[in-house]
Amino acid sequence: MTTLRAFTCDDLFKFNNINLDPLTETYGIPFYLQYLAHWPEYFIVAEAPGGELMGYIMGKAEGSVAREEWHGHVTALSVALEFRRLGLAAKLMEMLEEISERKGGFFVDLFVRVSNQVAVKMYKQLGYSVYRTVIEYYSASNGEPDEDAYDMRKALSRDAEKKSIIPLPHPVRPEDIE
C-alpha cells in the first residue's frame, strides 16, 4: 500500500527515516538536482498513507546507442527499515526497467558493495547477474580498506541475445569504467 510518485525537492526535507541508514548515502544538493533536472522520470518515491516516505529510486539513462551500450542505470535505491520485506525495492526496480525499456535501452545496470549480501541476493532474484567486479570502487573514510563493487546487469528486450550481460573474465579498475 503505497503511493508512487515523482520525487520532488521537498522530499529532501522528509527522507531522514530512509537516509539515516549506514548503507544509504546522503549526497550533496547538486547531485540530486542534477538528476531532477536531467532524468526526472527516473527519480521515484514511495509514500505511505500516513505521509511517511517509504523508499526511493534514483537513476539515469546513459551510454552509446551505436555501441549497444545505451542503458538504464540505478544510482540509488533505498527503502526505510520499517518498510522492508514488502517487495517495494522490486517494484521500484520494475518501474526503472520499464522506463529504460521505453527509452530503448539494451540493459539496466547497477553497482553494489560486494559485502552487501542482502542486496546482491535481492538483485539476483530480480534477474540481475554479476557482469564484472570493480576493484576498490567504494572508498572508505575511516582507515578501512576500500571496497570492491559488483557491476550487475539485466538485459532488456532490445538485447534479445543477452549479449550485454556476458560476464567479463577479469575484474576492472574504477578508472576503466565509464
Binding site: 531522514n16 546522503t26 526526472p40 522520470e41 498513507p49 520485506r85
Partner: protein
Amino acid sequence: MAARGHVQDPNDRRLRPIYDYLDNGNNKMAIQQADKLLKKHKDLHCAKVLKAIGLQRTAKQDEAFTLAQEVAVLEPTDDNSLQALTILYREMHRPELVTKLYEAAVRKVPTSEEYHSHLFMAYARVGEYKKMQQAGMALYKIVPKNPYYFWSVMSLVMQAISAQDEKLSQTMFLPLAERMVEKMVKEEKIEAEAEVQLYFMILERLGKYVEALEVVQGPLGEKLTSELQSRENKCMMLYRRLERWAECNALSCKLLLKNPDDWQFYLLYFDSLFHLIDQSWTPPQEGTHSAEGEVHASISQALSFMEDRIATEEAKESKHLRGPYLARLELIRRLRERSCPEAQQLGEPLELMFQFFVKFGDKPCCITDLKIFLDLLTPDQHVQFINRLMEAVPLGAPGEDGVAFPGDTRALQRHLCVTQLSRSLGQQHALNTQGKLGLIKELKAHYRHGLQFGKSCLKTELQFSDMYCLMAAHVYIDLWLETSELNMLWQSLGLLEEGLSHSSSNAQFKLLLLLLYCRLGAFEPVVDLYSSLDAKHVQHDTIGYLLTRYAESLGQFAAASQSCNFSLRFFHSNQKDTSEYVIQAYKYGAFEKIPEFIAFRNRLDHSLHFAQVRTERMLLDLFLEADISSPLEESVKSMSLCPEEDDILWDSLRDNRDLTVLVSWNPKDRQLNAEHKQRSLEDDTLWLRLRSLTLRLIGCVSALTHPPASRNSEKRTENGVAAKPSSLRSLLSQLESTLNQATQFTEKQLQVRTALSSGCCQCQLSSLQLPLHLQELEAAGLGSLLHTSLYILEKCKGDPLEVKDSQSTTQHFLLENLVYFVETVCIVLWVSNYCVSVLRPLKSSLQKKKKKKKEARNVDQSFSLQSLLNQALEHIKSQEISLTALKLGALSLEGQTQSEAEGTFTKMAMDKVQSSYLRSLQEIGELLKKRADTLKSLKI
C-alpha cells in the same frame, strides 16, 4: 576546469599549464606561471584572468577583481577569457557581471549562437526573466531551433510566477506564453515532450483545464512518454480540478485494477464515489458511462468492488498486497463519517484488523499500517483487541520469571507489533509506577532474548529486538516525567548505551541519547553521537537543530562553533549551487523543475535554522574574541555586521526541522501535533529575535565607541559601523518589547525561560540602554547593573551535579545560567568601554563642576566589577574541584533492579555527563578569565 577551448590554438598550449595548476589546487604556481607568460605575451588576456582566479582562491579578492576588470573593460570575445571570467565571477558570487560580459560579446559578434546562449544562461543565473525572454528569441532568430524558442516561452512563465501582481500574470504573461506555443502547434512544429509539458504547465496555470485535457488526450499527449502513467496522472489531476467525478472514478477504478496497491487511487476512488452519490449521478441512457469507462456511483458497487479486490488477493498463493485490506478499513471510516449503515457490511474493524495482523503481523510496517485505523475501535474494545492479536503470536512456554518468548524473528516481529499497538492505545501510559517498572523488566527481557537471533548481523545491520530496548527507554522517560526521579533518566541512558553497544548503526538509539544528554545539559557526548549519524548536506538543515540548539547555551563553545560551521557551509554553498541546476533544467527542458528549484533555494535561504546559526555564530565569535584577540570594532567589521540592517526576513522564515525523526508510539493525545510545531516555531522565532537584536545592539555600541568619522566617508555605510543613536534607540525599544512579549510567553519553553529567569536578558537590555542615557547626558552609572549581575551570579551558584543520599541530581540549568552570565559580562564590559571613552574627556570639566563624586563612583564600580568577576571565577574553580572529586561510582542505583552489566552502562552514561559538565565549566571559566584580564586594561 571547464574552460578549455575546443579549437587548438597556440595560446591554448601556452595556457594549459596554468589550467593544470588551478585544477590541482596549486594556486601559487598558477599565478607564477601566468606572470611568466604575461611577460612574453602582454596581450594574452586570458592569462590575466587565470591569474585572477589564482588570486581569488588565495583570498586576494581585491587584487583579483582589479585584474579581472582590466580584461573585462576590453570586452573580450575569445572563448578562453570569457569562460575563465565566468568562473571567476561565479566564485566571487558576482553572477551579474557575467551578463555584462556576454552582452558585450554578442554586441561584437551578433551572430554567435554560443555567446547568445551563454548570455541567456547568465540571465537565468540572476533571474532576469524579461531579458531571458528577449535573449531566447534573439537566439531563435539566429538559429531557429525549438529549444531556444521554448526557453523564451518559459521565461514568460517565470515572469508570471515571479510577478507581484497576479492579474498581470493571468492577463499578460501567461496568455502571451500560450499564444507563442499555439503558434508552434498550428505550424506543426512541436517536436519534444518537454514542449508539450510546458504547454500543459501554461494551460494549468491559466486554469484552462478543459484545454489542458484536450492536449493530454490529443495527438500532442502522445509525446508524454518518459514518465510512467504520465497521461493518466495528468488526466486524473484535471478531472479533479474540473470536478468530473465520473471520469475520476472510472479512471481510478482502471488504475486500481492495474495496481491494487496504489493508495492515492483508492482515495480518489472514494472521493469521487461520494461526490457522485451526493450529486445523485446516473449513467447516461446509452453508450458508455464516461470517457474513462464504467463508473461506480453507489455504495453497493463500491462494496462489491472492494470485495472483488480482496477476493483477488485471497486467491493469490503468496505476496499478498496490503492495499485492498487497508482500503476496506478506509472505506469503513468514510461510511461511518457519513453515518452509512452499510459500513457494517464490510465487517467489524476489530476483526478485520485482526485478520490483517494474521497476514502481515510479521512485517515491520504492520504497526504503521494499523496505527492510522486505531480510532475505528471504541475505547472499550482496546483490551479485547490486544488480547485477540496476542492469540496470533506464537510464543514459547513462560520461563521462571513468567515471560514467554518468541521462537524466531517472525514471531518476535508479531509480538513487537502488538506491544507497539498497546503503547499506541495508551495502555502503557495507563499503568502505575509499579506496572511500568514491570513492563520495563519484560521489555528488557524480550530485548535481550531477541539478541540471539542477530548474532550473525553485520555492523551495518540492526538487531531484530532493538525496538524493545527503545521502548523500554521510552517507558523510563515516562516514569521520569511523572516522578521527576532522575534515576529513571539515568537508567534510560544506560539502557540506550547498552543497546548501542549491540547495534552500533541504530540511528534511533543515537537520536534519543543525544536528546537526553542535551536535556541533562551534557553536550560533550552529543558531538560523537551526532557525527556517527553521518548527517550531511540537507540534513544539516533538517536535523542540525539537535546540535546547534544546545551547544552554546551549555558552555561548549568550541563544539558550538564547529557545529554552526557545518550548517553554515551547507547553506552558503546552496545559494551558488542551485542556480547552476536551474540552468541545467533549461538545457534539458525540465521546465516544471525550474520553479521547483527556485522554491527549493528559497526554502533553504529562508530556513529558520540558517538564520539561527548565522546569528549565534556571530554572537559566539564576539563573546569569544571581541576585545580579547582583537578589538570589538575589528570583529564587528570583519563579520560585516550592520546594526541598521535586519538580515532576517521574519515573515518568510521556513521551519525545515524534521521533528518526526525520532520514533514514537505515543497515543494520539501525546503525539506531536501541528499546534506543538507552531508553538515551537514561535518560541524559536522569539528567541532568535532577542538574539538578533542583541547582536545588532552590540554592533551599535561598537559604532558608538569608534565613530567612523575619521574613515573614508564613502566606506562608512559599507562597513556597517555608521550606527546613529537613533538606530540604537529604535533597536532598544524593539528589544524591550520583544522581552515583554517573551515574559508573557508563559509556556514552559526551555531556552527563553532559562534566559529570562536568570535575569540576563533584562540585564543585557539595561546595559545596552546605558549609552543612550549617557548621550542624553543623564547621570547614570554602572551601579545598578552591577547589582543585577551579582544577582545573576547568585543564580548560577549551586552544584550542577550532586550526590545526596546515594542519589545523584543534576541542576544543569546552572550551566546555562553561567553561560548567560558570561555573555552579560561581555556586554557590560563593551558598554563600559564606551562609557569610559565618553566620560574621560569630561573628566576635567566634571572636576571643575565639583562632581568628583561621580568620578569616585566610577572607580568604585571598576573595583566591584572586578570583584564580581573574581567571585564568579572562584565559584567556577570550586565547582570544577568538587565535580572532579565527585565519585559517581559510589552510587548504588536502585541496586535491586539493576544487574551488574546494566550498572556498567548507567555508570558510563553518568561519567559522560560528569566529564561534560567539567568541560563546560572549564570553557566558561577560561572565557571569564580572559574577560577579567581585559577589565584590567579598561581604566575606569
